[in-house]
Symmetry: D2
Subunit: 276 residues, 4 copies
């Protein structure tokens, strides 16, 4: 897990735009290769009973949902699930902060991807004033201890921050606003957040400083080109874990006993007319 070191020697922020974007077809071919490896990883987790938790954090529009789908689409739902908690209920806000997240930690053989996570308290909640500065400070003290407990328990924990420059963020906000199929992704809070780009950056810096620990390091990934970002993140994740190839269960696929049948109905009901 040479993440911290790689990170230090890694590319400068914003450099992503210097490279040409990954094309859709190139992306498709490369992501499928990674998805094959993800399946191998999933079989290894089930074989060993290990548990994998991946936290995906980053600014609005950074591409959290996209990379999570790229992973979950390739895997059986019984092995891998995404968790995106909605606003806590009033009662939940008075509980131990980690309580509602703990409920969703993986069991043996499972992959859980958190789309935003407990780090909300250091990000949106801090910047938008949904919690007090004392609550954020207390959270930043608790996190390394809490994560140590999980890691000591054998949980495989990875934390990714998806980086995006404001120019790209603005493009994506504009697209969400104009595309009727993406508009639901926009909330008034998102729009308020636009003007606070810098405040979010400062909150993130405080968070990284307090919670980038040897036992649970952060990995930053450039998502100015979302396709390249996804390929980079998944490649990195796979590289942290053994690539033990386990044989797939063989399944018999004998010849059908007769001619394939058509879907026929004994009763009066028939398929409706298909669209032209």
């Amino acid at each position: 897990m040479a993440n911290g070191k790689n990170g230090k020697n890694g590319k400068k922020p914003g450099n992503g735009s210097d490279k040409s974007r990954v094309s859709r077809s190139d992306y498709q071919a490369r992501v499928e290769q990674l998805q094959v490896e993800l399946n191998q990883l999933a079989r290894w987790l089930q074989h060993t009973g290990k548990r994998l938790l991946v936290l995906i954090e980053g600014r609005d529009t950074a591409g959290k949902g996209g990379v999570i789908s790229a992973i979950t689409d390739a895997l059986a739902p019984r092995w891998c699930r995404a968790v995106a908690l909605s606003k806590p209920s009033e009662r939940e806000t008075t509980q131990w902060y980690f309580q509602r997240y703990v409920t969703h930690l993986p069991a043996a053989g499972e992959i859980v991807l958190f789309d935003r996570s407990w780090y909300n308290r250091a990000g949106v909640e801090a910047v938008m004033g949904y919690c007090t500065p004392e609550q954020t400070a207390s959270f930043l003290r608790q996190v390394p201890v809490f994560e140590q407990l999980l890691v000591d328990d054998g949980l495989l924990l990875f934390k990714y921050w998806l980086c995006v420059d404001q120019a790209l963020q603005e493009e994506r906000f504009a697209e969400r606003l104009s595309d009727p199929l993406k508009r639901w992704k926009l909330s008034p809070v998102d729009l308020q957040a636009r003007a606070r780009y810098q405040a979010y950056g400062e909150a993130r810096d405080r968070m990284l400083q307090a919670t980038h620990t040897p036992h649970a390091p952060w990995t930053l990934v450039d998502f100015n080109d979302q396709r390249r970002g996804r390929l980079t993140l998944i490649r990195h994740l796979l590289d942290q874990l053994p690539d033990t190839a386990l044989p797939e269960p063989q399944m018999e696929f004998p010849m059908l006993p007769g001619k394939p049948r058509r879907e026929r109905f004994a009763g009066p009901l028939r398929p409706i007319r298909s669209v032209a």
Copy 2:
């Protein structure tokens, strides 16, 4: 809801293969138009507080997951969710059969899509012998009464059966077997089911006869061409519901106060090197 009638005069099973397949690009353009209408529907549900439940049933490989994704991808997760229950626990198998499904019924403004549903008891459970014939018979007696309760309560309930000929099913099974990214979709039970295509058809006929009621009719949709099937099913669903267009909430999108910023980090941590 002229479903029953349309159905009777509708196309014959298997005719789907007479038409040329819908191309990917044609599909993309047409499904997006439907997705815009689905957003309109979602706003109408929220405005009126109505609840929508859609049961998606059909043979293995028919395309249940695909049409559900086509709907959920376009809608905010807080408005619309898919429910695919896994095998009941031992304790659950002794409870009222509908109990674990009732938990997931929609609240005001919500769309719930059941990927398989209580009809398991008349399909896979009956054919594979996971329940007794008495249990299936009892289930078929209870269903119309249970669904009447829901509909009387104001729930909007739609039940779709996705039709697929065995030749197509075989093609898709073979594809799942050979494609490492689709292999997780195959279970030994699926393969056992291949040879029982006819038994499944007979079970389905009994189910349709017992549960195609005026208050909760079935709609059969040809999914031999899955893209056409999806377009047909979503078009049909939209046609059953008012197309009241409600104005979208207007959102302010003011100019940024200054030049867009880049993602910069105060500490030593930097994004890792992107893949080439």
Copy 3:
């Protein structure tokens, strides 16, 4: 289940006060005998896998909690539990009315006692205006159908209404008000309900008329003397079910290998000083 008939020929309301009250010691001896039979019943339920649901309804102070405790105190928590739902959340109020109750229906071998039940909608909700008259009317139409589904499914369902005259109710309210250990049982709603004794009675009459069905009859029990009420209700419940005596599992209780030991501590910590 000759309940309806017995009921008609039964004692007049309020007659309970003609008899002398059951003394504490008499009660204790008699309830323990019933509790032994309840254990026998519980073993029979586990042996047969049957499920038992008992709804306990009645006015405030009637003694619902007391009779429920008399039953649960005698039985292992894994066999028997009481369910007292608190106020529904806002989201729950928009769901199918029975939804949150269905969650708590018993599994094989279990006894569930509902301390108030779905009948809230015909009682307190109707009288206090927490639901519309249409909602109550709709509820009263749905109940017999819903209960038929449960009974047809093999659930053993019993519904008890605990009767109390207003003079006794007033006494008990006054006691709750004056006893600091009972004051938490009083809510402002209870006190508002005092003046609506008659309205509650009328609501109950409409409820009985609509929901006293052959498959799920009501049983009224005089609780003017709470001890006698408890004995009567439990006796009645036991009489509706077979009194099949199943042998208890034999447990070995061999001699201890040596002299009994004292609780000793290796470390410095010792028990605190006991109160005098």
Copy 4:
């Protein structure tokens, strides 16, 4: 919280039997006084939004259930609840050990009493071989850190160990075996545990040594006389918390408008005949 110190200077184990037993009537009077104070405590918790968690541990028959009932009986269920987790499911056994306990931690204003707790892993699980020695060792390392997180978060945490000599334990086992109303409290595991009295004691010593911390100290209470034990434990708990008396909400109790009414029924249904 002078627990540790008091403990050291406290009474010797087993001394409880030197005092005469607390009589039932004496107990009743004294516990009611404590229950009044518990109500005061509950109001203080609600007023301040603080959360109280009490772990009740001890050998079989020590009296855990009894002291928990003495507390919960006096308090509204919405303020105070007992949690007794049953055996973990197979999936739960592979999760983070604390996961299923965290779910039940109190929210603002709540009292939660754990009837056995996470300390199972250092007690019954260790002695009976339900977990590996490594799992117990890992648990004992995690506990102080985990409890520190909770306490730092403001949770009021108290841990009680109920002491009972083996002679008393044997008496109580014998009583459970002979009393048909108590037999359900006996499981085969309990009987196996009899012969391991000393092994349990050693496991408890290791547990105390590893987890008696300044932020979450243990308190040992002699339960050889269960009534005296209950009075001692509740008195101790109350003494650790402020005895701020908050005024009870005043409730109006106006005269009834007319003569108290009797429970009358419009329909044919009447109360059943009461037992003699």
